[in-house]
């Protein structure tokens, strides 16, 4: 990117040369070169497992590179631990907030500072006023929502005199207004000459705030340059592996609902995080449930699944009232759920793939002694049908890629032969190839007459797959669309509560 005629003293703030990193035998970074100048915002995009977070953790000194050098202002720096990075003015706002749950917000922000308490307090209040963010400073961190925790993390970074700020998917759980104020702030920091690494999955954000963009795939930077050089399509192409084309499922016929009887009926159900929801799900359809993060979709799903209390209303499955039933009963009645947070609620990380697949199936297949034969058969079937990449059934789950883990979790949900499957963000954070496979699986289910409830924040996914779609907004369903009405504009408008009938 060197342009002839530039002054000899470059204002490059941080420069990475040939950074390589392996975890055991798995090569995660394969020679990363990247220069960032003062006031630049570099958007780093790429699928999960591309190595973005690892690269950032190396800059922060959490991991050490196997090969390659880091230069700050032209000087080679050995980032052996985070405190070294901190003294050089580098700060990482991690993807998952790392607060101290038993400390107050203020203590969380100020810990590690040598300054006087009162002075820090005025500075924090100043920054918060400027941003218009409202968090009580004496609240304990364990009472904060994820979004609030993220705000605290960002505040922490701002309070330090950071020269290089790393934001790892900062907007993934923020509300619309919070995102807006964060972007304003980033503009500000840009002017002050602070350089920012901005990791994101949302391409629209790239064009909104970044000055430069770098795309990572398989541990390498495949594309980099000023944002103005690219279009959205360029970026999408850069994200995909060279040989695969964008996978689109065959367009399906509209379903004739007049002859169908709903398999699952939800009547005026109210719970924690949602209220007054009416829903009918028919066999053989894919019902998209769209909305922004925090709209209450996951709470709705987990409540039906018997994990939280139903305040009022009714859930009727195949003519039977299962309101408030335990998870086990719900499973037996033919509903299964693929959780949103795969790591927390989905995988048995140190268990093998076979036992991961069979954990829900065992109840039917084994009485007292394990039926190893049927267990093996089950695993074999799913590994083959879902194209799960494993060395064998004995491979440890934690060593699989995100996409393959997700396929295993979906396989487990299907092993109980459910009539209704709720998929909660089934393709979040998995690569394009696995995403295509998941879509194929969903379409297969539909053909088999299974009703699919597809919860997703990726509206393109809903447009592509759904036969009908409902939109949840602040805990209620505010609109529903049939096949012809489902398009990105309608879904987006309704999710943000601004859809009007005559708008399209």
């Amino acid at each position: 990117m060197q342009v002839i005629g530039e002054p000899p003293i470059s204002d490059t703030m941080i420069s990475l040369h040939g950074i390589c990193k392996c975890f055991s035998s798995n090569s995660v970074l394969k020679g990363i070169d990247l220069d960032v100048k003062r006031g630049e915002v570099v958007a780093l995009i790429g699928g999960n497992g591309a190595g973005k977070s690892t690269l950032m953790k190396i800059i922060m000194g959490i991991y050490q590179q196997d090969k390659g050098d880091i230069y700050l202002n032209g000087e080679k720096v050995n980032m052996i631990k985070p405190s070294v990075a901190l003294t050089h003015g580098i700060y990482l706002v991690p993807q998952e907030p790392m607060l101290f749950p038993n400390m107050t917000v203020e203590e969380n922000i100020t810990i590690g500072f040598p300054n006087k308490k009162a002075e820090l307090h005025t500075r924090i209040v100043g920054i918060m006023d400027q941003l218009g963010w409202k968090i009580k400073l004496d609240r304990k961190a364990n009472t904060l929502s994820i979004a609030e925790q993220q705000l605290v993390e960002i505040l922490r970074g701002l309070l330090r005199d950071t020269k290089i700020l790393i934001l790892d998917e900062p907007t993934s759980s923020l509300t619309f207004n919070e995102v807006e104020s964060l972007f304003k702030l980033i503009e500000d920091l840009k002017k002050k000459g602070i350089c920012i690494f901005y990791i994101t999955h949302r391409l629209s954000e790239v064009f909104e705030i970044a000055t430069h963009v770098a795309i990572m795939r398989d541990g390498m930077i495949t594309l980099k340059g000023p944002v103005t050089d690219f279009t959205k399509d360029d970026l999408v192409k850069g994200l995909l592996p060279p040989e695969t084309k964008m996978k689109t499922s065959e367009k399906s016929e509209a379903i004739d609902y007049s002859k169908l009887k709903p398999i699952l009926e939800v009547k005026k159900i109210t719970g924690y995080g949602f209220r007054n929801i009416n829903l009918e799900v028919y066999p053989g359809e894919i019902l998209g449930v769209a909305g922004v993060v925090g709209a209450g979709r996951t709470e709705f799903a987990t409540t039906i699944f018997g994990l939280d209390e139903v305040k009022s209303g009714q859930v009727i499955m195949d003519g039977e009232d299962i309101t408030g039933a335990s998870t086990r009963t719900v499973l037996d009645k033919g509903i299964n759920y693929v959780p949103e947070d795969r790591y927390q609620n989905g995988i048995f990380k140190i268990g093998d793939v076979g036992s991961n697949l069979s954990s829900a199936f065992l109840r039917k297949s084994s009485k007292f002694f394990l039926n190893t034969k049927s267990e093996k058969q089950l695993a074999e079937d799913y590994i083959k049908n879902f194209r799960i990449k494993v060395t064998g059934q004995n491979q440890i789950m934690g060593s699989l890629s995100g996409g393959n883990q997700q396929k295993v979790v979906i396989g487990r949900a299907l092993s109980t032969s459910p009539k209704v499957v709720i998929l909660d963000e089934p393709t979040r954070g998995i690569d394009a190839g696995a995403r295509g496979d998941v879509y194929t699986i969903i379409n297969q289910l539909k053909k088999q007459g299974v009703a699919v409830l597809l919860i997703s924040s990726d509206f393109e996914e809903i447009v592509e797959l759904s036969d009908r779609a409902v939109i949840m907004y602040q805990g209620s369903i505010n609109h529903s669309f049939n096949k012809e009405q489902i398009n990105l504009d309608n879904l987006t408008a309704a999710s943000f509560g601004v859809y009007e009938e005559d708008n399209h």
């Binding site: 405190s83 790392m98 602040q474 209620s476």
Partner: protein, 337 residues
Amino acid sequence: MNTLKRIFKARELSSLTFLLVMFLIVGAVNPAFLQIRNLFLTFNGSVVFVLLAVGISFVIITGEIDVSIGATLGLAAAVSATLLRGGSPWVVAVIAAVAVGVGVGLINGIGVTVLKVPSIIMTLGINGIVRGAIYVYTDGKWVENVPFEFKALSQASIFNTVTYFFFCTIVFMLAVHLILTKTKQGRHFAAVGDNMQGANLIGIPVDSTKVIAYIVSGIFAAIAGIVYVSRVGFVTPTAGSGYEMKAIAACVLGGISLAGGVGTVIGATIGAVIMASISRVLVFLQFSSDYDNTITGILLIVIVVADSLIQRRICEKARRERLSARTLSGVGGKCDE
């Protein structure tokens, strides 16, 4: 108003309330218990446990555990008693005992941080080794005939009520409390126990903080050992065995969470006083002090379970309020036909 609120939220306050209520109830049954002299006897008798509990609370607050302090107390006591018997000045004996504490703590700390052995395993193993070392050192014999002057130290008191030992322990404890809560380094202990990765990320030296916690725990155990020598006057090879469990119980009673990150040394002190007074309380209620363990066990379980249930309820309530706040109240969506 705010400070008042904070005081009421403080976990050690409920322990203190419990202690007072216990004293009042016993006093109602047997007024002799509430005599100043008797109360101070109770307090003076708790010095060894207070020292152990304050020391181990460092380790527990960083999210680890140390079950080697009972043996450390025994070894430090044996070493210092042998030196005193041999005519060494008490300064030498104290230094030697503290050196024992530092040594054991250092080994524990290195094992847990560098070798990454789980702390319960590491300190359990070290407990066995140190206990064996006492037998080797004393040849399995009792260390007796500690100089009278040293034994008399434990009886020396201010105004005939508070022993110097108890007084010093409280002063010591308060100093430690200030260091823990007011200094930058002191707050590192709670930070490490609260969220280790988070602490690492903002540049807190996690490993050295843990090593220091173990060393502090060892030193306090060693000092407790010296007090033990002075109070008891002789050291058996089993001295201090089982004390580690009582110290941990004291911390828990004082509101320190074994998950780390929560608690103060003041709480540990109150817990230790509760622990130490139970057998005395039983005597005044005219029960056999054999029920000491039973009461301790019940107390421990009841207090911890109640606390956990309350905490869970608060968290659950907060979660539900947050979720409810998100939903649109009043008119529902347009779809509710």
